[in-house]
Amino acid sequence: MTTVAATRRRQALSRFWADFRTHRAGVAGMVVLVAAVVLALIAPLFIDESVTSVVDTTGDDFDAPSLAFPFGTDESGRSILLMVWWGSRTSLLIGFLAALLSIVIGMVVGIAAGHFRGWLGAVLMRVTDWFLVLPSLVTALVLAAILGGSTFTIIMAIGITTWPSTARLIRAQTLAVESRPYIERSKALGAGHWHITTRHVLPNVAPLLLASTTLEVASAIVTESTLAFLGASANKTSWGTMLRGSYDFGAANEGAWWYILIPGLAILAVVMAFTLVGRALEAVLNPRLRRGA
C-alpha cells in the first residue's frame, strides 16, 4: 500500500520535473544555482578563511586581472576570485536562512490569519499590515545597528522585516482553500484546527511557499548586500562587504573596476538564477498561472 503510494508520489514528481524542464530560463537558473551552492559547499576543501586575511596576502594592492589573480586584487592585495568564492558562503547562508525565517513567520501568520476568522485573525492582519508599511530596509538597518553586526543578527533583521508580503499571500490562499466544501466535510468528521491546517491548507499553499521562498532568497541576498554596503554588516567577508570595501578604499578612483564588478556580477548572477527558478516554479506549481500559459 505504501509502496504504491510512493510510486504515485514519484510519478507526480517526474511529472513536475517534465513540466519544469519546459521552462528553459528556469532550467538555466537552476544550473547556475546548483553550481553556486556546490562551489560554496566545497570551498573549504580548497581554501580557508585565510584568503580574507589582510596579513598574509600574496599580491600587490589593486593588481589588475592577471594569470596569478584572474580577477585582480583588492586594496590589501587579496585575490578577488578567492574572496568572492569564500564570500559566497556567507552571502548564500544569510540568503537562505533569512528567507527561511521570513517564510516560516509568513506561513504561520498567514495560515493562522486565514484560518481563525475571529479577533485573532483580525489582530494578526493588523500586525502584518503594520509591518508591511514599515520601510523594511531602514528597519533592518536599525535592527542590525542595535543588535550588532553578527551573521545571526543580519539574518534576524532581514527575516523579521520581509515576512509580511508572504503572510498576505498565504492568507489569501488559505481563505480560498477554507471555503471549499471538503473543509466543511472535514469539520463534520471531527477535524480540529491542527488537522485542517496541516492536512488540507498546508499542502495547498506549499507550492506557493516553495516558489515564494526562492524569490525571497534572492531578495534576502540583495538586502544583505545593501545592509553591508550601508555599513551594517557581519564581520565576515560577503559579497556585500566586498562592495563596501571597494567603495571605502576608492576602487573607482584607482581604476580597479574588477573590485566593483566581480562581487556585483556574483550578486546579479545568483539573484537572477533564484528569480528565474522561482518564476518557473510558480508557473509549474500554481494551477491558475499554468492554465493561462
Binding site: M1, V4, A5, R8, R180, P181, Y182, E184, R185, S186, K187, A188, L189, G190, A191, G192, H195, R199, H200, P203, N204
Partner: protein, 334 residues
Amino acid sequence: MTETQATKEKVSTAGASLLEARDLHVEFVARGRRARAVDGVNLSVGEGEIVALVGESGCGKTTLARTLLGLERPTSGEVRYGGAALDYGSKALKAYRRQVQLVLQDPTGSLNPRHTVYEAVAEGPRIHGLADEESAVASALSRAGLRPPERFFLRYPHELSGGQRQRVVIAGALALDPQVLVADEPVASLDASVRGEILALMLKLREELGLSALVVTHDLGLAWNIADRVAVMYLGRIVESGPVEQVLTAPRHPYTQALMSVLPESPERVVLTGEPPDPTRIPGGCRFHARCQILASGKAAEVGVDGKCRSELLDILPAVPVAQAACHYADVAG
C-alpha cells in the same frame, strides 16, 4: 393506504427520537441586519428513520442541518442527541461527530483533489485515532458500493465518475460508524440515472445498519422516493410535517400545496405572488400570509380567519410524528 400509514406511524413512534431540535433559533447578522435563518424549529429524527426536510433556497434548511451537526451554534434552543442536550465542548463535540455525519451536495468539492480515495475515507478514522484503519476503510467503501474496495484505494477523485465520488463521500461518513447521516441535497448535482442508485444506497444502509437520515432537499420526488416523514420549511420555520404519504398526497398548508402544484404533471399550477422570502424581514402574523394563495383568493375570509392570518402568530409545531400544519385556515377548514 391506511394500513401502510398505520405501520409507518408505528415505526416512527416506536423508534425513540435520536436527533432532535428543540425550539431552535439561529440568527446571523447580514449587512447590518438580523437574519433569522432558523426561527423556532422542533424536529426529531427517530432511530432508523429517514426524514426529508423540504424547502426552497433561503428557507433556512441548510442552516438547520448545519446546526444539527454542531457546525453552527444556535442562538437559543437546543440540539439533543440520544436524549441529552448537545455539549459544545471540544471533546464532547468530537465524540458527537462519530454519531452524526454529513454528506454534501457537490461530491467534487467535498473531496480534496490532492487526496486519494483511501486518504479521503481514512480521514475520519485518523482524526479519531481508530485502530485498524485499513479494514475500516475497506469495509466502508464496500458498504458504499465500491467493490472491490482495494481497486479504489489509490484513485484520485478526478479519476472517478460523479456517482462514484458521492459514494466515496458516503464511505468517508460510514467509516466512523455513525447513527445518523445528514445529507444536504445528496443527489442534486448527480446525473439522472445515478441519482436513483445513490438514493437506493441510503435506503439499503438504513436497512442493513439501521442508519437514520435527515435529507435536506428542494425535491419532493426525492422525499417520496426515500423518506418516512417529511417536514416542509418556509422562512425559518417548519410549516407542515408528517408521514410522507399523508403530507404529499393531501397537503394541508397552502405553501406545501403550492410546492406540489408546480411539479410536472400536476393538473393546476399555483403561482405564488409577492416578494421572495427574506429572513431579514419576516412578516408578522402567519409568515406566509403575504404570498398565500388561500388568503389572496378570499377562501380564508370565507371561513373568517383572514384577520388572524394577517396578525396572529402561529404556534411552533411540536416534534411529533403525526401530520400537522401551521395554518389558521387548515385549523378551521380541516
